[in-house]
C-alpha cells in the first residue's frame, strides 16, 4: 500500500500528470491573456514524449557524468519533496518535526543542478546562465525562507502538516500572513525562473542559459522537474497560507486543493503576462532591498502576535 502511495497516488504518477496539466494550464492561460490560442491539452505530454525519443547529446569537453546526472537528481529532489507537503488533508504522506526545512532544502536542489549542469556544459551561454541561476538563488531564497518562517513561528512548529493543521483550526489567523503569502509567491517566481525573473534562461540574451546544451531525454527531465517544482511550490504555499477546507470530505478537499493550486498557477501566468524581464542587478536589488525587509516585517508582526496570543 505504501508503494502505491509513493508510486501512483498521490505520489509519482499523479504528480507527473498534475505537473503536466499545470504546465498546460499555465501555457494556455498565458496564451489566452496574450491574445493567442495556446496549445491543446496534451501538448506538454507530447513534448515530453517527443523529447524522450530524441538523441541525448553531450557537448565535447563537458563532464559526462555530471551532465547526465543533474536532470535526474533535479527531478528526484522535487518528487521527494511532495511526500512532506500535505496536499488535501491535514497530514502529508510522511511528516516529522522539521520537514519544512527539508522541503525548502529539496526545492533548492533543482537550482543547484541547473548551476552544475550549466557549469559543466562548457558552453559560454550555459556558463553565464549557471552563474545567473546561482546569483538569483541567493536573492530569492532568503525572502522565501523568511516568509514561511513567520507562519511557522506563530504555529510553533517546524512541520508543514502541523502548521497546516494549526491554521485550519484557527482560520481567523490566516489573513495575518498575507504579506508572507505575497513574498512567497514572488520568491516562487524566482525559483521557477518565470518572467520577470527568467534571467537565468533569458532567451534573447543567452539562448537558454543552463539548458542551452541539453537536448532529448535530459532536457525532458529538466522540463518535467520545473513543472513538478511549480506544483510542489504551489502546494507548499497552499498548505501554509491557504489551509481551507482540510477537514472536509476527501473528495471535496481534493477538489478544493486542485482549485487552490490552479489559482496559484493562474497568478504565476498572470504575473508573467504583465511584466518584462528584469536585469540580474535589478532582481537582486529588489529581493534584498524590498522583498527581504517586507518578509522581516511579517516575522516581527507574527512574533508580536504570538506574544499577544499567549
Amino acid at each position: 500500500m505504501a508503494l502505491f502511495y509513493i508510486l501512483v497516488f498521490p505520489g509519482f504518477l499523479f504528480l507527473i500528470g498534475f505537473a503536466l496539466a499545470g504546465e498546460w494550464l499555465d501555457r494556455k492561460l498565458h496564451a489566452l491573456m496574450q491574445n493567442r490560442i495556446g496549445p491543446p491539452w496534451f501538448q506538454p505530454l507530447a513534448d515530453i514524449i517527443k523529447l524522450s525519443a530524441k538523441e541525448d547529446t553531450v557537448p565535447n569537453g563537458a563532464d559526462r557524468t555530471i551532465f547526465k546526472l543533474m536532470p535526474m537528481l533535479a527531478l528526484t529532489a522535487t518528487v521527494v519533496a511532495v511526500l512532506y507537503v500535505p496536499l488535501w488533508s491535514k497530514n502529508a504522506l510522511n511528516s516529522f518535526p522539521g520537514d519544512l526545512i527539508v522541503v525548502l532544502y529539496l526545492l533548492t536542489i533543482p537550482t543547484l543542478t541547473f548551476f552544475l549542469g550549466g557549469w559543466f556544459s562548457r558552453s559560454i551561454y550555459s556558463l553565464i546562465g549557471a552563474a545567473r541561476a546561482l546569483t538569483q538563488l541567493f536573492a530569492y531564497e532568503i525572502p522565501l525562507l523568511l516568509s514561511v518562517l513567520a507562519p511557522a513561528m506563530l504555529a510553533n512548529s517546524w512541520s508543514i502538516s502541523e502548521i497546516s493543521a494549526f491554521y485550519a483550526q484557527r482560520w481567523y489567523l490566516t489573513p495575518v500572513n498575507i504579506i508572507g503569502f505575497v513574498v512567497a509567491m514572488v520568491a516562487l517566481l524566482g525559483k521557477l525562473e518565470r518572467v520577470p525573473f527568467d534571467i537565468p534562461e533569458a532567451e534573447t540574451e543567452i539562448v537558454a542559459g543552463s539548458f542551452t546544451e541539453y537536448s532529448g531525454r535530459l532536457l525532458g527531465l529538466f522540463r518535467l522537474c520545473v513543472d513538478v517544482e511549480m506544483i510542489v511550490g504551489a502546494s507548499l504555499i497552499a498548505a501554509i497560507f491557504l489551509p481551507f477546507g482540510l477537514g472536509a470530505p476527501a473528495w471535496l478537499a481534493f477538489i478544493l486543493y486542485l482549485v487552490k493550486v490552479e489559482g496559484l498557477i493562474f497568478l504565476i501566468s498572470f504575473m508573467r503576462t504583465i511584466m518584462a524581464r528584469l536585469r540580474i542587478d535589478q532582481m537582486v536589488d529588489f529581493c534584498w532591498k524590498i522583498l527581504a525587509p517586507v518578509a522581516f516585517v511579517q516575522l516581527v508582526l507574527n512574533l508580536v502576535l504570538k506574544g499577544v496570543v499567549q
Binding site: N35, R36, Y125, E203, E205
Partner: protein, 412 residues
C-alpha cells in the same frame, strides 16, 4: 584586469535575439560589457552591382527587395532619383498615394519594432499585442497595393494603382482603430514599471555623439536632435502636410520608444490629411524607357532614418551606377558607443533600439594590403571569370554541365 577575467560572448550570426544574421563579439567582465566588435556582411547580395545589369524599371523591383520592412522606402528613394534625371513631373495624385503608402509602411514598421523591443526585454505580451494590431495595417496595405510586403506600388513617373472611395473609408476606419491602440501603448510606456526599468538609462547616446556619428532617424531624434528629411528637405507632398517632428531628451532606449510611439500618432494625423486633400487626376506620368545622361541623389525618411540613393544614368535603359546607403549603416556605428559599460542583458534591446536592418546595410568591404598595388575595377566578363576560377579552386566545376546544357540547347 587580466585576460582571464574577460570572457568573450558571441552574439550571432545565429542568435535568438537577432532576426537577421550579424555578428557581435562582446568582451565582458562579469555582466558588464567592456568592448563590442561588430561584424556585418552575412547578407551581402550584391544588389547595387546587379542593378547595372537591369533596366530602370526592373531595378525598381530589385531595389524594393533590399528590405522586407521598408521596401517602399527604397523604391521611392530610387524612383525619385530617376524621375529627377529624366525630368518627369509626377502628377499630384500619384505623389499623394505614394506618400500614403509610405506612411502606412511607417505604421507597420514602428508597430513591428514595438513588438520586437518587447520581446528583447522578455515582455512577450507586448509583442503579441502590437503584432496583432499590426495585422490591421498589413491587411490595409494588401488591399491598397496587392501585397503585404514588397508592395510593387511605385513605378517611374507615379504609382500603379488608384484608390477607390470605399478604400478611403476603410483606411480612415483602420486609422481610428490603430490610433486608439497606439494611445494604449503610449499609456503603457508611461506606467508599466518593469518596462520603464528595463528601458530607462539603457544604451545612452548623447546629443554630441549623435552629431559626431551622424546618427539618423528616431535614434537621433530620441537624443534631442530634430533631424527629419520630411521636414528638412521635403519630398513628395510632405511640404503640404501639417505635422511635428517628435523629439525626446531622454537619450536612451526609453526615449527611442517614446519617439516611435509619438511618430505613430503624427502618422495617423498625416494619413487623414492625405486622404482629405487627395487631388483628382492621373496617378502616373508616362516615363521613357531610356533615361538621359545625368545623375541625381534622393533623400527619403524611412522608418529607421534617412535613406539615401544615388543614381547615375548614361543615356541607355540601364543605370550606370546605383548607390544605396540605408539608415542602419550610420546608426550601427553608434551601437558600440551605446553599449560601452552596459550590461549583457541590455545588449539585445540596445541593438534593437536602432531598429537594425542588416540586409539593407550589408555590403562587402575588401581590406587591401598597402603594398599590393594591383588595384583596379573588374569588368563584367573578368568578374565572371574570377568567379569561375574561384569555384574551380574549391573543386566546384560546371564545365561538363555547361557543355551538356549547351548541347541540349543546340538540339532544341
Amino acid at each position: 584586469m587580466t585576460d582571464r577575467d574577460v570572457i568573450k560572448v558571441p552574439l550571432g550570426p545565429q542568435h535568438p535575439a537577432l532576426k537577421e544574421p550579424g555578428n557581435f563579439i562582446l568582451s565582458m567582465k562579469g555582466e558588464l560589457v567592456t568592448e563590442m566588435g561588430v561584424r556585418l556582411g552575412y547578407n551581402h547580395r550584391g544588389i547595387e552591382k546587379a542593378c547595372e545589369q537591369r533596366s530602370y524599371l526592373n531595378d525598381l523591383y530589385l531595389l524594393e527587395r533590399i528590405c522586407g520592412i521598408c521596401s517602399h522606402s527604397h523604391s521611392t528613394a530610387y524612383v525619385q532619383a530617376v524621375e529627377e534625371i529624366a525630368g518627369i513631373q509626377v502628377p499630384p495624385r500619384g505623389l499623394y498615394l505614394r506618400t500614403l503608402v509610405a506612411e502606412l509602411e511607417r505604421v507597420h514598421s514602428h508597430l513591428l519594432w514595438l513588438g520586437v523591443a518587447g520581446h528583447e526585454i522578455g515582455f512577450d505580451t507586448l509583442l503579441m499585442y502590437s503584432w496583432r494590431d499590426r495585422e490591421v495595417v498589413m491587411d490595409l496595405l494588401a488591399a491598397l497595393t496587392g501585397n503585404r510586403v514588397n508592395y510593387g506600388f511605385n513605378t517611374i513617373g507615379g504609382v500603379r494603382r488608384d484608390i477607390t472611395d470605399e478604400q478611403k473609408l476603410e483606411v480612415l476606419k483602420a486609422t481610428d482603430t490603430l490610433e486608439e491602440r497606439t494611445k494604449y501603448y503610449a499609456e503603457l510606456a508611461g506606467h508599466e514599471t518593469t518596462l520603464i526599468k528595463r528601458l530607462k538609462d539603457v544604451g545612452r547616446l548623447s546629443k554630441e555623439d549623435v552629431l559626431r556619428l551622424g546618427v539618423t532617424g528616431p535614434t537621433a531624434r530620441a537624443s534631442g536632435v530634430s533631424r527629419d528629411v520630411r521636414k528638412d528637405d521635403p519630398y513628395a507632398v510632405y511640404a503640404d502636410l501639417d505635422f511635428e517632428v517628435i523629439t525626446s531628451d531622454h537619450c536612451d532606449v526609453y526615449g527611442r520608444t517614446l519617439v516611435r510611439v509619438g511618430e505613430l500618432m503624427q502618422t495617423y494625423k498625416m494619413i487623414r490629411q492625405l486622404l482629405t486633400q487627395l487631388p483628382d487626376g492621373a496617378i502616373a506620368a508616362k516615363a521613357p524607357r531610356k533615361i538621359p545622361k545625368g545623375q541625381a541623389i534622393s533623400r527619403y525618411e524611412a522608418p529607421r532614418g534617412e535613406d539615401f540613393h544615388f543614381v547615375r544614368g548614361n543615356g541607355t535603359d540601364k543605370p550606370e551606377r546605383v548607390k544605396v546607403r540605408a539608415p542602419t549603416l550610420v546608426n550601427m556605428q553608434a551601437v558600440s558607443t551605446m553599449m560601452k559599460g552596459g550590461y549583457l542583458a541590455d545588449m539585445p534591446i540596445t541593438l534593437a533600439a536602432i531598429d537594425p536592418c542588416f540586409s539593407c546595410t550589408d555590403r562587402m568591404i575588401e581590406l587591401r594590403d598597402e603594398s599590393d598595388t594591383a588595384c583596379g575595377e573588374y569588368s563584367w566578363p573578368a568578374l565572371r571569370q574570377l568567379g569561375i576560377s574561384h569555384h574551380r579552386a574549391l573543386g566546384i566545376d560546371f564545365t561538363e554541365l555547361s557543355k551538356k546544357l549547351a548541347s541540349r540547347r543546340d538540339r532544341v
